[in-house]
């Protein structure tokens, strides 16, 4: 029997507001343990949370970007469990009345677009971190992260293949980065994903028993864990066995999932509305204000790039993958008006350099103005395209301006006719045999003769000009 996977994702996105969700402590990462804390975020007696409005606005942006309906009234609720990284013994989250519901994201896999429903987006606070002593049975608690704002994005069980899950996540990452609300980095934990997966006979409605997968720290691992889980559940079902409802941990090293806790050991979180916080009321005016602050989203930008710059869809896709690449492109085009040329240089040359170094374009040592200047040098023939690539590499390495590199290293092309003519004449004189061969019809020798001129100028001669002059001299 053939089975179909039914997958839903719960994605946590850490918002990069400057202060925490319920107090004024900094959210900056990497400070010494317990230095970004105060009585409120460490849960001392008698303190009270006050909602950071910026968090609501960031969450609203994501809700709008994923076509959700924003609730006019939403409410925070307490989710209870005991753990040393959770100082109050409960996490302030949202439960019955989330911030936003009923949205969707379109993802493209193998040229096909699938719409993945978003059940809800809600706001909540992050927990702290435990640091376990390697030698003794001892743990240390660092509460710097406690109270960092998160949004949880819960998808409908609309995902059918691991690749779709991966694309859906990439889409979420792209959106949060476009919106500037999160770094969206899975490896660093600013984007986290849990997956619910069950199987059902192909073509059948309804749902099978699901397992919940945790501990996947990259897009690749989400995909691999889901692939593994499909194999595991398929084998179970084909053997006449049954899937048990449980939470399973992905073991990246072994490439398997294993059971963490069963349904019986599942927490009873005892949610109830947090009496310390008043309901979040959001009026239309506020939504509109936030909407106006939103940047152009990837879909719209991609369309505009095709229309406005006449780019092929593929180019538009690559250039709008990140808002920084798109911004770089547009700034470059503003200074150098050949969009396709700019696109080629960014996609082929610049992104290659950046990838080699694992760098993002917003930290690129070659600013858009420098790339534009370089492209001008190529266009007006000061340097050849091939030389241009070398200059770009040099500029990337040293941060020097392209003009300066060309000047200091004497790289500008030799285009002076008189000088080139005399060189052509010398080559004809020095290689009589080859010239004779050419004149007797062995046209292949032409390339050799061009090469000799280039060698004399150490590559600086304008190849087009050399071709022209040599042709004239020989014929």
């Amino acid at each position: 029997m053939d089975y179909e996977a039914v997958i839903g994702l719960e994605v946590h996105v850490q918002l990069k507001t400057r202060s925490k969700i319920f107090c004024s402590c900094s959210t900056r990462f990497g400070a010494p343990p317990n230095t970004h804390t105060c009585p409120i975020c460490i849960g001392m007696p008698g303190v009270l949370p006050v909602l950071n409005k910026k968090v609501v606005e960031y969450a609203m942006k994501m809700a709008l970007a994923t076509n959700c309906e924003i609730a006019s009234v939403s409410q925070f609720a307490r989710k209870h469990y005991f753990y040393p990284d959770l100082p109050k013994g409960y996490q302030i989250s949202q439960y019955e009345l989330p911030l936003a519901e009923n949205g969707w994201i379109d993802v493209e896999v193998d040229g096909q677009t699938r719409r993945i429903g978003i059940t809800r987006i809600h706001m909540e606070e992050d927990a702290g971190k435990l640091i376990h002593d390697e030698h003794r049975p001892l743990s240390f608690v660092d509460l710097n992260r406690t109270g960092t704002p998160l949004i949880e994005i819960v998808s409908e069980p609309d995902i059918r293949r691991p690749e779709e899950a991966s694309e859906y996540l990439k889409k979420i990452r792209q959106l949060v980065r476009y919106l500037g609300i999160s770094d969206g980095n899975m490896e660093e934990g600013s984007l986290r994903c849990d997956a619910n997966i069950s199987l059902r006979p192909l073509g059948r409605q309804g749902y099978g028993v699901k397992s919940e997968l945790k501990n996947m720290n990259s897009f690749r691992h989400v995909q691999k864990a889901l692939e593994y889980e499909i194999r595991r559940q398929t084998a179970l079902l084909l053997d006449g066995g049954q899937v048990v409802q449980e939470t399973r941990l992905w073991d990246a090293a072994k490439g398997v999932t294993h059971s963490m806790r069963g349904k019986e050991e599942a927490h009873d979180y005892r949610y109830f509305p947090d009496p310390d916080l008043v309901p979040v009321e959001i009026e239309r005016v506020w939504i509109e204000k936030v909407r106006q602050e939103m940047p152009e989203l990837p879909g719209a930008k991609r369309e505009r790039f095709v229309k406005e710059y006449g780019l092929p869809p593929y180019d538009a896709d690559v250039l709008t993958s990140s808002i920084h690449v798109a911004d770089y492109f547009e700034e470059c085009v503003r200074l150098f008006h050949r969009p396709k040329t700019v696109s080629n240089w960014i996609m082929v040359e610049l992104l290659k350099l950046l990838h080699q170094d694992n760098q993002e374009i917003d930290t690129c040592p070659v600013p858009p103005s420098s790339l534009a200047a370089l492209l001008k040098l190529v266009e007006d023939g000061t340097i050849s395209a091939k030389m241009g690539k070398k200059v770009l590499e040099e500029s990337y390495k040293t941060g020097m301006e392209p003009q300066q590199i060309v000047q200091e290293q004497g790289l500008s092309q030799l285009s002076d006719e008189a000088e080139l003519k005399s060189m052509v004449a010398r080559v004809i004189e020095d290689f009589p045999e080859e010239v004779a061969k050419y004149r007797s019809g062995k046209k292949k020798v032409f390339g050799f003769l061009v090469g000799q001129v280039m060698r004399m100028t150490r590559g600086k001669a304008n190849p087009k000009k050399v071709n022209e002059l040599l042709q004239k001299a020989l014929d």
Partner: protein
Amino acid sequence: MANLVDLTISSLRQLLDQREVSAVEVTRAYLERIEKVDSKIKAYLTVTGDQAMEAARAADEHMASGETAPLTGIPLGIKDVICTKGVPTTCASRMLEGFIPPYNATLMERLNGQHAVILGKLNMDEFAMGSSTENSAFFPTHNPWDLKRIPGGSSGGSAASVAARTCAGSFGSDTGGSIRQPASHCGVVGIKPTYGRVSRFGLIAFASSLDQIGPIARDVTDCAILLEAASGYDPKDSTSVNKQVPSYIGSLKEGLKGLRIGVPEEYFIPGMDPEVEEAIRNGVSTLKEQGAEIIDINLPHTEFAVATYYIIAPAEASSNLSRYDGVKYGFRAEGYRDLLEMYTRTRSAGFGPEVKRRIMVGTYCLSAGYYDAYYKKASKVRTLITRDFQDAFARCDCIAAPVAPTPAFELGEKKDDPLQMYLSDIFTIPVNLAGIPSISVPCGISKEGLPIGMQLMAGHFQEETIFKVAYNLELTLGKIGDWPEI
């Protein structure tokens, strides 16, 4: 001159303002009084003598330079549920023994801003759970009118110290009657303000949607002075209300003409102490003589209030008390082998029986499968009770009722009978569920010499009405008796 500690805050204010006495002298008198009688009353958990004297000197300096606020130089006591920076704040629990908050409650900031003098921290039922102060993990407090009896609770220390003249006024907290019931039992005046009137920041939470800080004082005027100082919007408390604080003192002396006072049928129940009923009926007649119109009203959902309260309050408490896990501050048990054992041992040894009982009840009420039947249902009944009051206040300006069904009972009398104990809050609980303000003002004394208080309630933010009626009652009835010798 009369003994300094027998004076009201308003009298002290005059003496201080006229330089007849200094804050240092007043404070010293109170510290001596505490030294002399508190061993019998046991109202204080912590006496901050040195800080008090220092604050008194600062108050004198401020008064000398003409910066005098209503509470400058006035010695006050604070219930140990309110966080005081640098001073132990225990909630009368082993769990917080030795806990010294690095922050002040907003109330303390306000009092410090007026250069009030803080004498110390007052005893209470552990985590404000109880009606007798017998649930203090450290020792019970005694009623100054009869040392064999309880002072009421949970703000028993706050009420007893005011009656014993070991502070000029105090602050307590009221979740289901914890200010009004002890005020009634100790023959003093205590008000639970409208929910949101006084900031809860720094008030250690019992049941967040019900808790409210309020003052306890010798008379209505003092009570109004203290509430005015405590009230106001606080951006640190999302549930505090941004609404101008009126002059409570200014409204006291208006007459009762044209005022309608409702008497709810449901608050006069069989089994109620006849002396209490008589005192209340007598008080109501007095108000009528003063020009108020008395009407009979109904609050039909009153009978469900106790049940509703004992779901909502423990549910919130079970959540609020989760933070006491031994990880960060306060008590941690020893001899545990793993994390779970650290939690269970710490919480088993750190909390007293009443606190544990409520945590268990609350946890149960919020559990999957029970939430709808208990917490959700209770929330709905709460709305009905609130509506009862709204309907009533469409017909009257103020409601007069008893505070407690009996005068103060004896220590140990109900300690082992939680249900009987819960019923002593039967008349005070509905007010907290509705979030309205209510005062307890003395209106009589039993044959055994025990004070009886009358409860006066009004609509949201109608504290002025309450003070006006209470003031008139106090003025007309006169003192219910001399302050007890101790």
